[in-house]
Amino acid sequence: MKISKELTRGSNALLVLGVISKCDMYGYQIVKTIETASNDVFIMKEGTLYPILHQLEKDGCLESYWCEAEGRNRKYYKITEKGLKQLVRKQEEWQVFSAAVGKVLGGAGLVRA
């Protein structure tokens, strides 16, 4: 099932922080990890990923370092203390949001056959 961009836009940073919190990763790896973990529900384009990564890095939520891999320079991202706090906060927000959406949709009986 394909999820619309509008629906996923607000949660992209949460997803990125979530996967990087498990281990240090580079861009391609992040995309693949999100795809795999979501059973290809979240297919994050590079045009979306890199601006988010760079913004999180500028905000101090992520740190980066370079390693040489397969004869190329590869940039790895690592979550910071600030990033972890941000992740916890965003997770809480998401749970509240998700529960509220569920209640509204389920409670109001908006889905008709």
Binding site: K45, G47, Y50, H54, K58, E70
Partner: protein, 550 residues
């Protein structure tokens, strides 16, 4: 697939990032990503060309990615150029407007102004060739001003060199603004668009404003802010100059804000240096170092004690009767007994043709008008204009000035002193009129009067057309000088001295005949640096000379 096959797409994607180093890092990262995609595609059996094309395709909307990368890495003119322009204007205000609310305030404001202007010019120097030129010009201008300050003890002896350096500094000050504004205009010209058309008009207007006469005056003070031609807000002339100055600033701010708006809307990006604070610290240090060097060199150059010698007022023979007659005449002009008693007899003899002043009304006027002016630089000035005849019988006025240091600290920091360079020295300019004679300096210490030789005398110092003398100064320094002015046959030069201030500042009074009291009561007149200029210029022998016994 070889590396260069991704060059064009990487160039495009990173093209919006203005920082070369950041662009390079993002490029490496994206290249790694594309190569990962490419290798995966090849591993599933795609041809190298198809694998490369698929990798590029999987990036999604390239235009959007480029735009978003540029947004995340905001070396963007709307921030940096705006900051730089703001700094430039604030620096201009600080370096041009001199207000002395406390000791040393002028030096502090100049220091801040110079630092801000240098930093701003540097931050904009990356935006294009012309702003770069503007920074270079500003830097040279600053170096020039430091050189003038450093070399002032030497340059004082060479008026022409001083004028040349001043001229260079002025031209550079003007050129800085011109290059900066012309540079901004060029930047918008490169990508002229509908949004930029009003901007171009605005910049042309600004350039025009800069080159008009009122702003020209302001630019003089910008180019020569080390000199007294800067805008003295606390003096009358400051309020006249401040009008075009404020107009210039308002026009500049308004139009420069439009520059930013247009640059922002047009999405044309120009690189400008960021981290203005770091640059400001660097240039502040440079300016500070320049000032410290100036002071050190100045102190090393002349820190000599005054050469004093016992003072002998009986330097010539004079009969008691003659002395008493001249003394009575001098007292009738409001001179204090103490002053008369202090003058050497050789000076007393200069007034042998002085008639006793019987016009008490005029005497009162004169006393109120000019004989006891409070000198605004910590001195009290008592000035006596005494009608005498020279040896050939021509009418002259001998001007005797007694200058008493009332506020030592203020006197040291006043514009007429060289306290910044020479902490124990004062400097006084005087007229090189016919028969001018700097007669003596008296230093009163523990009740003993000494005669001091001037430390140094100048001919035509700075841009003033007066001569000057440097003297040792302490809290009890009094000094006197006398100048004889013939009322006929002034040289053109002397006439220029007399009319100089009036032509510039006091033109409405030219040719009018007003009483001394009227003139003295006019606030504008009281701002004339040296009232002597006025009286000599407007009062002929007939109107000035008081009724005499004859």
């Amino acid at each position: 697939m070889s590396e260069h096959n991704f060059d064009s797409i990487l160039d495009f994607l990173c093209g919006g990032i203005m920082s070369a180093s950041e662009s390079s890092r993002v490029r490496d990262e994206l290249y790694d990503h594309l190569m990962c995609l490419y290798e995966r595609n090849v591993s599933v059996g795609m041809s190298p060309d198809a694998a490369g094309a698929e990798a590029i395709s999987s990036l999604g909307d390239k235009q959007l990615l480029r735009h978003q990368l540029a947004q995340v890495h905001p070396y963007f003119p709307r921030l940096t150029i705006k900051k730089a322009l703001t700094m430039l204007l604030v620096g201009f205000i600080f370096s041009s407007v001199h207000i002395n609310l406390f000791d040393g305030m002028q030096q502090i404001t100049q220091f801040i102004g110079n630092s801000l202007m240098l930093t701003a010019a540097f931050c904009m120097s990356s935006a294009g060739k012309k702003p770069r030129t503007a920074f270079a010009v500003r830097a040279v201008s600053f170096i020039c001003s430091v050189l003038i300050y450093l070399l002032s003890p030497f340059l004082d002896r060479y008026a022409s060199a001083n004028i040349v350096l001043f001229g260079i500094q002025f031209i550079l000050g003007f050129a800085t603004w011109f290059c900066m504004l012309d540079g901004l205009r060029s930047m918008t010209d490169e990508h002229i668009c509908d949004d930029c058309k009003p901007l171009r008009f605005g910049l042309n207007k600004l350039l025009y404003t800069v080159t008009t006469v009122p702003s020209f005056l302001v630019l003089i003070s910008s180019g020569a802010n080390e000199y007294s031609s800067s805008i003295p807000l606390n003096e009358g002339i400051g309020f006249i100059l401040i009008i075009p100055f404020i107009a210039f600033l308002i026009a500049s701010v308004q139009l420069l804000l439009r520059v930013n708006t247009a640059l922002y809307k047009s999405e044309h990006e120009y690189k400008a240096e960021d981290r203005g604070g770091v640059k400001l610290a660097f240039f502040s240090s440079a300016v500070c170092l320049g000032i410290v060097l100036s002071m050190l060199l100045g102190c090393c150059y002349i820190r000599q004690p005054a050469e004093t010698q016992p003072y002998n007022r009986n330097d010539i023979e004079m009969s008691e009767a003659e002395y008493a007659g001249i003394r009575a005449a001098l007292l009738s002009y409001g001179m204090s007994d103490e002053l008369v008693a202090t003058l050497p007899k050789s000076e007393i003899l200069q007034y042998r043709t002085l008639k006793v002043n019987k016009n008490s009304a005029l005497s009162a006027d004169l006393s109120q008008a000019c004989f006891s002016n409070n000198y605004s630089e910590g001195y009290i000035l008592n000035e006596y204009l005494l009608p005498i005849e020279d040896e050939a019988g021509h009418a002259c006025i001998r001007v005797l000035r007694q200058i008493r240091c009332e506020n030592y600290k203020q006197a040291q920091s006043g514009p007429g002193t060289r306290a910044a360079c020479f902490p124990d020295c004062g400097k006084y300019n005087y007229l090189p009129a016919q028969g001018s004679d700097f007669i003596l300096i008296l230093k009163e210490s523990d009740g003993i009067i000494y005669s001091c030789k001037p430390l140094k005398t100048y001919k035509n110092t700075h841009l003033n057309v007066t001569d000057g003398v440097e003297f040792s100064m302490d809290s009890s320094t009094d000094f006197y000088y006398a100048v004889t002015l013939a009322l006929e046959g002034y040289s053109d030069e002397v006439l220029y001295h007399f009319s100089h201030k009036l032509v510039v500042f006091k033109q409405p009074l030219m040719g009018t005949k007003r009483s001394l009291k009227e003139i003295a009561n006019s606030q504008t007149i009281m701002t004339v640096e040296n009232p002597l200029y006025l009286y000599i210029n407007f009062y002929t022998t007939e109107t000035y000379f008081p009724d005499s016994e004859d």
